[in-house]
Each structure stands twice: as structure tokens, then as C-alpha cells.
């Protein structure tokens, strides 16, 4: 089977006035727009550039590009072509092996509409109550439905190209017409990554924020405004689907939550940094996490609202230690309709 080609138009970059993909990057420094343009041209040409070595794989350039030209996917392609390892080799090996589709999966009572847990067990805890009435059992989970976008972090576009068509086929074979993606990584895979590689997606991906918003409107009579101030923790894969960000504001408005206007939100959001810890070591990761949490505290956040379970795993305990209550978006919506929070903090370092 011929490998899918990335849909990348280099002429768009030639005409680009901003080079935002690089000039907005929070981790790479360029003396000028011209230097950024020069370095980027090297990447396009397949030449060596420090960008390929220094990229933290935060995904943000996918959002920064005003032309939808997939700069990050190109970086990943070039890293792989040059054998550059964004993370140590054993970590990449572990990820490649762990998520192999080898026939292990879970399918609930799936009809035309289904929920995708992707490969994240947290959702078994989160998906409960009235918000999911009628759909809680329509679940797909496991390697056979794993979106594979994580390999963008590990310079393995080839794995995505190899496995994603099978994943899409598996979902289609369940007769699913609408797939509610509980993780941005899945949603972004089907709405950004797959189209970038010209893969047809024969079902409609629905972001779970859209689902929650609509469901909350149905349950509006049950909503008691929470009247809280919350910091929103944007995750790396939110960069693949920035068009869904408005749902955060829409949901917050519906349930009486103020999204604090802090420095590190929206385009300037900082990721949870655990992937960066595995790629670059603890100094940068600790610094990012500290700046992020300091920022939440400085702007008076009472809660930190998580979208991604992996961000929860890496940051929940740390924000709690700063006196900010961690909560997943699904749980926040539950609180608003007087249902209890499901995903709770695990004191991972406590047992002696």
C-alpha cells in the first residue's frame, strides 16, 4: 500500500507574511522574521535546521499557521526522514509497541452514534450520569480505535500513516456515523491529521465539548450556576482543533464559570509538559509547569479545568498543592447539574 503523502503547499509559505508558525513559538528563539523564514525554508527543502532538533513537539505551530498548511506535520516528517529522535529511543519503542492494534479492544452497545474513549481509561470513570444518558454504553476503546496522533511527538508519521487507515476502517465497520471524541487528540486526528494525509473519514467526528454544550442545554433546568473562577488548561492536541475552543466559553457561560483572563491561555497556553519532560528532561518541563501554575494562581483561579486526562495526570496534584481545585470539564458540567465529581486526585507519592 503506498504511503499517504502530506498535503503541504510550500508556495503558501513563500507567500506567508507572518511566519507565525515560528515567530509565535514559545520555545524557539529567532532574531528576526527573516531568520525564521530562512530556517523554515531549510525545513521545507529537507535541509538540516536546528528547528528539527529543538522542537518540543508542543503542536502549537499547527494553530499558529494562518494558512492551515500543517507546519508541525512537516516538521515531524522531516524529523523522521533524518532519523532525529525527539525523545529517547526506548520511549519511542515503548509507545510504538504499546499501541499496536493487535485485536485488543472494547465495544459497548454501539449504534450509529458512539463515544470514543480512545486509549484513555479515565473516561470509564468520567462518563457517568445524566450527561451521558442514552449513550454511556455506546463506547469504543482500545488499540483498535486508538487515533495514533501521539506519534507526532515521536517523529513517527509513518506509524500514523500505516495504522490510521485501519483504525478509521475499524470505526466504520462498527456502523458508526457519528463519533463523539472524548479527547482532542482523536477529534484532531479525524478533522486535521487524516485530511492532511488525504485519508477519508467516513463518519462525522463530534467534539465532546459540542456534545456537552448541547446536552447541558437540554438539561438547563437542572443547572445551578457554579459562580467560580477557573483557569482553563489547554492541551497540546487542542492545537489541532482550535475551532472548538469557543465551546469552553459557551459551556462556562451556561454553568456560571468565569474563564480567568490569564497570560497562558488561548494561543499562549502552556501544555502540561510531561511529553516535554520525556523529550527534553526535567528543567524545561518543571519551568513550564511552574510558569503555568503561577499564572493560574496570579489571576485568581479557584479551579483548574482540564480537557485532557493526560494533562490531569501530570498537573492535577501540582495545582492542588497550590490551593487550586483540579477538575475535568466533564466533572465540572456534572457539578453544575448537582452530580458528584468522578475523577479524583490520586496521591501518587503517598504510600510508604
Amino acid at each position: 500500500m503506498p504511503s499517504a503523502e502530506l498535503k503541504f503547499d510550500k508556495t503558501k509559505c513563500t507567500k506567508c507574511k507572518t511566519v507565525s508558525c515560528l515567530t509565535k513559538c514559545q520555545y524557539l528563539d529567532f532574531k528576526s522574521k527573516e531568520q525564521a523564514r530562512k530556517e523554515w525554508q531549510k525545513v521545507i527543502n529537507g535541509e538540516d535546521s536546528f528547528i528539527l532538533q529543538s522542537c518540543t513537539t508542543c503542536y502549537a505551530c499547527e494553530e499558529y499557521c494562518p494558512l492551515g498548511n500543517h507546519p508541525f506535520y512537516l516538521i515531524v516528517e522531516r524529523q523522521e526522514q533524518k532519523g532525529i529522535l525527539p525523545a529517547p529511543r526506548p520511549i519511542i519503542t515503548m509507545w510504538i509497541n504499546q499501541c499496536q492494534p493487535v485485536g485488543k479492544f472494547m465495544v459497548g452497545k454501539v449504534e450509529q452514534r458512539a463515544l470514543s474513549y480512545c486509549f484513555l481509561p479515565h473516561f470509564a470513570t468520567l462518563v457517568k450520569g445524566k450527561l451521558f444518558d442514552g449513550i454511556a454504553w455506546a463506547v469504543i476503546f482500545g488499540q483498535e480505535f486508538f487515533c495514533n496522533a501521539v506519534y507526532l511527538h515521536y517523529a513517527r508519521a509513518s506509524i500514523i500513516k500505516e495504522r490510521l487507515p485501519r483504525i478509521i476502517e475499524n470505526i466504520k465497520n462498527q456502523g458508526i456515523k457519528e463519533l463523539i471524541c472524548l479527547h482532542d487528540e482523536c477529534y484532531g486526528t479525524f478533522t486535521s491529521l487524516a485530511p492532511a494525509y488525504v485519508m477519508e473519514v467516513p463518519f462525522k467526528p463530534i467534539h465532546y465539548y459540542e456534545y456537552l454544550y448541547n446536552r447541558l442545554k437540554e438539561l438547563q433546568s437542572l443547572i445551578s450556576p457554579l459562580n467560580i473562577k477557573a483557569a482553563y488548561q489547554r492541551n497540546c492536541s487542542a492545537r489541532l482543533c482550535p475551532e472548538t475552543d469557543h465551546y469552553v466559553d459557551d459551556i462556562f457561560q451556561l454553568i456560571g464559570v468565569e474563564r480567568i483572563k490569564r497570560k497562558h491561555d488561548h494561543e499562549d497556553a502552556l501544555c502540561c509538559a510531561e511529553i516535554i519532560r520525556m523529550a527534553k528532561g526535567p528543567s524545561l518541563a518543571d519551568d513550564i509547569q511552574k510558569r503555568n501554575i503561577d499564572d493560574m494562581a496570579a489571576f485568581g483561579a479557584e479551579y483548574c479545568v482540564f480537557n485532557c486526562p493526560a494533562c490531569w495526570d501530570s498537573l492535577a496534584l501540582k495545582v492542588a498543592k497550590r490551593g487550586i481545585k483540579p477538575i475535568h470539564m466533564i466533572d465540572l458540567c456534572k457539578l453544575a447539574i448537582s452530580e458528584p465529581q468522578s475523577l479524583r486526585l490520586v496521591e501518587a507519592t503517598a504510600e510508604v
Partner: protein
């Protein structure tokens, strides 16, 4: 030939009829352990309550020339408490009192039936500042049996074998005398098993109950910090593992270092998982130790040869669990609940060769494998487990696992390793290779202490 009714009646007289049995079901149960050694039934099972009970039973066994096999929970897996020649199995479970904790001298004195789980629980409740080196055995494993087999535990990287942490013994000799070993022989304190006296503990530790019955044991306790964490590093080259372990132990910050390797679950395939455990009384202390560990491995990290794995809480919990429950899970991989391992003690430089052998043997005999390696005593040596699981209802699979284990044991010896908790066949391999004068010394000691050869016969029998 002993008069069985005389023995039975005498045992009833010593411990009461509720604690003696010659019934088939008990003899069946005590004839085997969870490993691959063939079963052999005892004639009697008896459960003493006191040291005096043990004394009387040992005297009886001497009089009647009946073998006697002391047993803790019977979890060694290498058949060490299978009564090879029948006789009396002395089940120590009823001697389950924790007799003393000296908080300031940091030791505990326990009876022979006290389990690891009971001691852990007791210390957590009453002495939360103290802990002992918990082995990765089920919680019903006894403290004494673990010391007798030179077990290792969660503090072995810092403090050596669990038997090195023994601080005194009370032993009923094979001839019936009660003997105290260590500081407790001249003092009311149990702080040392030997020094500054002649260290006689070596007459009992590692002998698998062939030189006496340990009835009480002093065990060193260590500070229990408020917080504990595990850092997981991954390598994909066996050749790098010894250096990683040495670097970790060089920090003197790691209380336990374990390497896991297995082909399944898939996340393990192709990588070695190095777990470094650290503790602290504050976030700052823990963070400092994390930094030291990172610094130790930074060169390999920069070379992209060693990776750090951020472990989510649900994955971290089983790694933090003491004892680890992974062994139990592994034991049922082949569905049928059988598992055994050969765990030679060896220099850590042997890791690559041992791992290669493990893969080779597993493929040769078509058995599922895993390996867990624990660093012992600041890099002085390691325990490398060649572990195989099997279905107990599948004799063919069991036979293949046994062959695989035997081959691994022979290989370990050839490579300079020493077999740990060796079964009777492996003991013969060891003795064949042993210095003749050492062997003669073992024979002399055994004859001196156990003139009638009643103690756990079949084990450490010098030809």
C-alpha cells in the same frame, strides 16, 4: 522406623489434638508448594505455639529419628519445605506474636510465624516512622523464612539481603537446646546478630532449616519517610543496564532499584524498565533526590539511549505497592496459576548475558517469560530472576518450564552466579562446584549440630 502412633500421641500431648494432624487432606497440602518440585507427603503436621513446644517436638523427633521440616508460609517455590523424607512438618503460623519494637535502636523482635503483612501493618499503625525491607512475596510470607532463604526486599539496594538486616536469633537446636544468637545472648537488647561477638547467625541463615528451628528473630528497622515515589527509566539495550544500575546506586539516594523485562504486555516489549525508588520527608527532599537521579542518567538521556517515562497515577500505584502484585498477575499469565523462577545472585555486569539466555531458553522451550532484577547492596550484586509461568493443568508445559529453569540454573553457575534458594537438585549443582574444603566444613557443621540428620533431610546434604 518410628512408631507412628507413639509420635502422633506425643505430638498431641505437646500441642493438643487441634494442632496435630495426620489426615490425608493435610498431608496432601503440605506435600507441595507452588513451584515445580515433585510433591512428597509428611506423616504429621504440627503447629507449635511456644518455643517450649518446639523444643519438645524436636526432642521427640530425635528420640524417634523422625525427620522434621519447619515451614513458614511455604512460598519459596523451590520445594524447600517439601518433606523429602516424610516425618513432621512444623508449621510455625501460631507463633505469630510481635514481641518487641525498640524504637530508638530501630529493631523488632518477632516470633517465627509473624508474616510480612502483619509486621508492615503493625509498624504502620504503631511506629509510622519505622519500616522493614518488604520482599515482593505475598504478604503471608513470614519474616523468619524470608531471612532463612536470604530474601531481598525494598531496602536491599541500601542495606543488602534481608538476612543482613537480622539483629538476633533464638534457635532450637536439632538436639533440643534453646540458643540465643547475637547481642541477645549477653544482653536484653537485640541490636546485633553478631558483632562484636563471633557471628553464629551464619550457622542458621541460608541453611533452610537443616541446622535448627528459628523461633524468634530480631530484625533491623529503618527510617520511614513521609513520602515515596518511583522514577521509571527505559533502556532498550541490555548492555546499558549494568551501567544504569551502577549510576543509580552511586547517587546513594535510591532505596530500591529494580529492572523488569517481559514480552507482554506490549508496552514492555523491547525495553527494560528501570524503577528507582526514592523517599523524602518533604517535597524539597524528594525533588533533590529526583534531580540527583536525573543527573546520574543524564548522559544516557542526552544520547537518547535511556528515556524517562512519566507514569500516570493508575500505572504508578501498582509500582508503588509493597509487596508488588505483579508476581501474582504473572503467575496466571498462562491461565492455570503456575510460576517459578530461578533467581541467581550474580554481579550486575552479567545482566546482558543473563537476559540473552532468558530469551533464548524461553524460545527453545516455548514458555512465557519475565524477569525482575533487584539491585542488592550498592551494586555488590543483583538477583536476576529467570521467571516462567505455566498452566498447572498442562503437564507438558510444566515439564518444559522445568527444563527451561534447569538450563538457566546451570548457565548461571557457569557464568559465576550463585543459585538463590536452590532446590535440592540445584543444591547438588552448587555443591559439585563448591570448594572441597568448604563442603567439608558444611558437612562437619551439619554433623555437629544435627547428629541424627533429622532436620529437613534432603537439603544441603553433603555427599
Amino acid at each position: 522406623m518410628a512408631n507412628t502412633s507413639v509420635v502422633y500421641d506425643s505430638l498431641v500431648k505437646i500441642v493438643g489434638k487441634d494442632f496435630v494432624s495426620d489426615r490425608r487432606e493435610e498431608r496432601y497440602f503440605y506435600a507441595r508448594d507452588g513451584g515445580l518440585m515433585p510433591p512428597h507427603e509428611p506423616d504429621f503436621v504440627v503447629m507449635p505455639r511456644t518455643t517450649e513446644d518446639v523444643q519438645e517436638i524436636v526432642k521427640l523427633a530425635n528420640r524417634e529419628k523422625v525427620p522434621i521440616v519447619p515451614i513458614g508460609a511455604g512460598l519459596a517455590l523451590t520445594g524447600l519445605v517439601i518433606p523429602q523424607r516424610g516425618g513432621i512438618v512444623l508449621d510455625m503460623k501460631r507463633m505469630d506474636r510481635i514481641l518487641e519494637v525498640n524504637e530508638r535502636a530501630r529493631y523488632v523482635v518477632v516470633e517465627a510465624g509473624v508474616t510480612q503483612g502483619a509486621l508492615k501493618n503493625y509498624l504502620q499503625r504503631h511506629y509510622p516512622n519505622l519500616r522493614h525491607s518488604i520482599p515482593d512475596a505475598p504478604p503471608v510470607a513470614t519474616v523468619v523464612a524470608n531471612a532463612v532463604i536470604h530474601g531481598q526486599g525494598r531496602l536491599s539496594q541500601q542495606h543488602g539481603f534481608n538476612s543482613d538486616m537480622v539483629s538476633g536469633l533464638e534457635v532450637v537446636l536439632p538436639t533440643g537446646e534453646v540458643c540465643r544468637i547475637g547481642s541477645c545472648s549477653v544482653s536484653s537488647y537485640w541490636f546485633s546478630k553478631g558483632a562484636p561477638l563471633p557471628d553464629l547467625s551464619g550457622l542458621f541463615l541460608g541453611w533452610f532449616g537443616t541446622t535448627g528451628v528459628i523461633t524468634k528473630l530480631g530484625l533491623k528497622l529503618y527510617p520511614c519517610k513521609k513520602m515515596r515515589d518511583v522514577m521509571v527509566f527505559l533502556a532498550d539495550k541490555a548492555e546499558l543496564v549494568p551501567d544504569i544500575m551502577l549510576r543509580l546506586s552511586h547517587t546513594e539516594m535510591v532505596e530500591d532499584a529494580v529492572v523488569s523485562a517481559a514480552p507482554l504486555p506490549l508496552r514492555f516489549r523491547g525495553t527494560f524498565w528501570v524503577m528507582a525508588y526514592i523517599t523524602g520527608d518533604s517535597d524539597e527532599e524528594l525533588e533533590f533526590k529526583r534531580k540527583m537521579v536525573w543527573d546520574a542518567l543524564w548522559e544516557h538521556f542526552e544520547n537518547r539511549d535511556v528515556g524517562f517515562l512519566s507514569v500516570p497515577p493508575d500505572m504508578k500505584a501498582p509500582l508503588m505497592s509493597m509487596p508488588s502484585k505483579d508476581t501474582t498477575r504473572f503467575a496466571d499469565v498462562s491461565k492455570g496459576g503456575g510460576f517459578q523462577y530461578a533467581g541467581p545472585i550474580t554481579p550486575i555486569e552479567k545482566f546482558p548475558a543473563f537476559h540473552r539466555k532468558l530469551e533464548e531458553v524461553a524460545a527453545k522451550y516455548n514458555v512465557f517469560y519475565a524477569s525482575t532484577t533487584r539491585l542488592i547492596g550498592a551494586g555488590h550484586c543483583m538477583m536476576f530472576s529467570f521467571s516462567f509461568s505455566f498452566n498447572r493443568a498442562n503437564p507438558d508445559e510444566m515439564a518444559r518450564a522445568k527444563k527451561a529453569l534447569d538450563e538457566c540454573s546451570r548457565f548461571s553457575l557457569e557464568e559465576g552466579g550463585v543459585l538463590w534458594k536452590a532446590d535440592v537438585d540445584e543444591q547438588k549443582l552448587l555443591m559439585n562446584k563448591m570448594d572441597p574444603n568448604t563442603l567439608a566444613l558444611i558437612r562437619k557443621i551439619k554433623q555437629l549440630l544435627d547428629p541424627n540428620g533429622i532436620m529437613n533431610p534432603g537439603n544441603w546434604e553433603v555427599p
